[in-house]
Structures are given as structure tokens and as C-alpha cells.
Amino acid sequence: MRNLLEFIKSIRILLLFLFLETMALLLTFSESAFHGATSFQFFMGINSRIMSVRSDVASYFSLREENRKLVEENIRLREKLKDSYIISDKRVFEIHDTLYRQEFVFLTASVINYTISYQDNYITLDKGYEQGIEEGMGVYSPAGVVGIVDHVSKNYCLVKSILHSEVTISTTVKDKGVTGTCMWDGVNYAYGILKDIPVHVKLKQGDTLLTSNYSSIFPAGIPVGYVTDFSTDATRAFYNVRFRIAADFGNLSSVYIIRNLIKGELEELEKMKETPDE
């Protein structure tokens, strides 16, 4: 017994090292161990508060750039307004428009912290459940899609950015009518990968990739990226498309969070196919 104690004493440094290392690896590889911990909310509250001071100061330096992006987005939206169209068919004229009801509402948020150099990158925003943010909401910047809300605390939320190995976005190629899945391969923060585009589609460089209307997270038509190059994959039936990510991850400051008003209804409906009535 004494020998055993002596032995343990002689390797106590090694044991401490192995203990700390196991803890670190557990936190690295099990996301629930890190984010699921009750202390996580507490830490997130503290570091978010520190980072928001920093981002308040830093945001002044990017005002000009931010303004340019907003103007560009305004132009894009203005082009969609009824005023920008002339009526081509004089016989049909519609005045009352009750066919539409609002599906998406938008909230603004400021980015207070983000990373781009890892395989799984996160963004911290200054809105939490007090402001009505829930897990699974979409986030996009004036330039394009940014990510999906992953964890929410009282006044802050943590967003899985599209630079995360688990995030996929349903994407269509503009004017081509085909839908694929876009993801990130972890190599370069400026480029993403689009899969499942059949080879019969005539792609070209510079084609715009937009969010598809199959997603209940993002409204259709938000820019995701611009095609830079493409090749056929191993099956020769689909393209592997590389695209430049529309959102500027080198400089993120203001983003929109999207709430889908009918998502609950959609999910309830889709649940029915899994559990049929008896």
C-alpha cells in the first residue's frame, strides 16, 4: 500500500497533466460538454459584456464600409419595389393584394465577437432570449448569409457561422432553377463548396447563389455566394462548385436575425408524417 502511494506520488505531475489534457480534449470534441455546461451561460454573460465594449469602439472604424454595404443592399431592395417596374400587361391590373401574409420578420444585431480561423467558427451577437431570439433562427449580413443561431443566453446569442463544419444551407443558382447544398470545407474563409448541382445545368463563373425557398430558416433570395469555379465530382452526375462567400467575414459588424412566423406551423405539419395518427 505504501509502495503504491509512493508510486502515485512520483507520477503526480503526469497524472495532473493527463487529467487536464483529458478535460481539454473532452471540451474540444464534445460540444455538449462545452456549451451544455451550466457555467457556460455565466461565462458567456461575462465575456460577451467585455467583448461588446470592444466592439463598440471598433465599430466606429468600419462605419464607412458598413454604410457602403447598406447602400448596396438598399439598391438591391429598391430594385424589387413595385415602383421600379412598369406594367407590361395593361389588361390585368391588381389593386388589392391580400394574397400575401408576412412570413419573416427581421431584427438587427451587432456582432461582438467572431472567429474565422478554425474548423468550427462561432459568432457572438448582442441579442438574446430577452429580445426574442431562439435557437435555429437564421442570421445574415447586408452582403449575404452569415449563419444560424445555436445557443441563446439572456442578452446574447452564439451563432454557428457558415464557416462551421456542421452548417449546410439549401441554395439555388439564380435563374437556373436548381437547388444544391452549400457547405464549408475548412480551407479558406472566403470560399465555400456547393454540392448536388446536376451536370446538365449550364453553370458559368460569376453565377449568383441565393438561399432557396425550401428552407424555413432563410427567406428565398438572400445572396450566399458567387461561383468561381466548378468541376464534376466522382460520380460524374453532379458538379463540385467552389464559390466566393457573399458575406464579408473579414469585416462583420451589423447583421439581421430572421424570425419565421409560421415555422411552428410548418414543423408541426412535418411532424405528422413521422407519427401518423392511429
Binding site: I13, F17, L20, M23, T28, F29, T115, S117, L158, G250
Partner: protein, 172 residues
Amino acid sequence: MNNKLILTNLLRFLLAMFLQLMIFNYINLFGYINPSVYLFFILLIPFETPIWLALCLAFLTGFTQDLFLSTGGLHAAASTAIAFLRPFLLRTIVSRREYESGLQPSVSDLGWKWFLTYAGITIFIHSLIVFYLDVFRFSHFFLTFKHAFFQAIATLFFIALFEYIVSIRKKK
């Protein structure tokens, strides 16, 4: 004397974390180089510190960085590993002076050649661990190596710069 040492190290910890969290975490050269300057705190832990304390301090430093970056325990794992390897490394690198108590593992006490070897090896091991742990499920072996290498160079550059500024001030 001992109190002064603790105070200096505490201040150094705060300075390292402040620079890392407020400035260097926002530097993303080429999209992947994110200098880990907080390592200068771990590098400069005094020789007479017990190893168990050095391990715990390194873990805490790394974990603070992880909390801010949402990277789980990536930096904690790498920092603990270099703190564990440090005694072996110190035994291997020959110094022109004995490692006696009161001596700091810094440029002003042991010279540039010694410091750059010591810091270079430590930082390189740290970068390798961070990058390979991060891309665990990926196959880009050489790309990861390249990333880790340039990250280590950038980190070493900034830490050497700090050391340079400190050593100039000490001479005056």
C-alpha cells in the same frame, strides 16, 4: 520578493490576455493566421514555479482564450501540453548560465539565441497541436502543417517584438 514575483506575473497574465482578446484575436492574416501572443505569459513563467502550478496556469490561460473563441478546449489542450514539455525542453537547451532561482526565462537574462530557440520550439509545438486538433477529421495534412508553421512564425515574431521592447526598457 516572492510577492513581487506573483504580482509581476499576474500583471503579465492580464496584459497577455488583454492584448490577445482585444487585438490579436481580430488579426486574421490570410484568414488563418491568428497569432497566439498570450503564450508569452506561459513562456515567461519563472523557473522556480512548481510544475503542477505551471500546468494549472497554462490550462487556465488556454481555457480563457477558448471561452472567448468558442473553441472548446483547443487552446487549453495545447497550452497544458507545452507547460508539461517545458521542463524537458529547458533541460535540453543549453544555456550559458545556470538556471538559478531569480533568473527569468527572458531575453534580458539569457540572451536572444537562447530565447528564440526556447520560444520557437514551444510556439511551434503549440501551433501544431492547435491546428491538428482542430482539423481532426480532415485530411489536409500538408495544408494544416503549412498553416501551423506560418501561425508559429507570426506568433514568434510578435512575442520577440514584445521581448525586444521590454529588453530595451530594462537597459535604460
